[in-house]
Subunit: 149 residues, 2 copies
DNA sequence: AAAAATAGTTAAACTATTTAACTATTCATG
DNA sequence: CATGAATAGTTAAATAGTTTAACTATTTTT
């Protein structure tokens, strides 16, 4: 029954979401908030990026990004560099200290996820992640659809 | 390869989490924040509950719950009732207005989740939800383990 | 050259959170 | 049964993250 699946999905996604957040927070301790870690991760993987890009990816207003980046530049984790060709643009990159802190945190998250994933049989977790990826795609389209209306 | 699965899991769970949060926020509009909706949901399903219980379920300090409940009692959505047998305890229940607002919100979330779930074949989504539920269990044990250390 | 668009910041107001100190009540035990 | 410990909840101060609206500076369009 579809109604039952919907209810189970709502319950369980909320629970997993909360628990995961809380476990990540526990791993990060006082070094970084979860949001700060996600942002460091994004900048690290991208090499460098702009506030506008972060605001789109994280689906918040640009001023929210400014605030987060301010806190991390104050701590010497992120650097701002003005684009000399288009002086409106500011590139964000990790400082050495930022890279170091990110990697230290990322290792912990990696171990956490490993300890969880290895409690499943490989075919089950692979199937799960495959569907999860499809779900991300569906949610992305849903978002565009909402905005298009 | 397990390393690859871990990386895919970290990326995708973050993405889905963000998108889902943002879609729910869009559905709730200015009526409720996501956290407020989750708390109304919990109290509604439980019938009534205490701050301590909410703090445990949501894994935050009790003072965070006090703050959220204050905002919602101010808006007439939640009522506090002192237990006459144990006067330390305060029971939280939804007011009529709270029930009404919750149900209105819940309908929207339900439709949202339905529109997402129905884009999958039934066996796939059922398998997904089953694994998701196991995952919730694993995360729960992980949490206890962390605290036990 | 003037108007429109873009990138980013600032300021004010708000929600959510933590920590530490506190009140009020109940439990435990010596 | 009195006192000290535990429990339930609140308060206050500090911090993180968010939105909205107004702003600066720059580039693009027309």
């Amino acid at each position: 029954m579809i109604q039952e699946l919907i209810d189970r999905y709502i319950s369980i996604s909320f629970q997993v979401h909360k628990k995961a957040e809380s476990l990540i927070k526990y791993q990060l301790g006082n070094d970084l908030t979860n949001d700060q870690h996600y942002i460091l991760r994004y900048i690290h993987l991208a090499g460098s990026c702009t506030s506008t890009e972060l605001a789109e990816v994280f689906e918040v207003n640009k001023s929210a990004i400014t605030a987060i980046i301010n806190r991390m530049t104050d701590r010497g984790l992120i650097e701002r560099t003005r684009d000399e060709n288009d002086r409106r643009v500011v590139y964000l990159t990790l400082t050495e200290q930022g890279i170091e802190l990110y990697q230290k945190a990322q290792e912990k998250i990696h171990l956490l996820v490993e300890s969880i994933i290895t409690q499943f049989e490989e075919p089950e977790i692979t199937a799960f992640i495959n569907t999860y990826e499809k779900l991300a795609e569906v949610l992305n389209n849903k978002k565009k659809e909402e905005l298009g209306e």
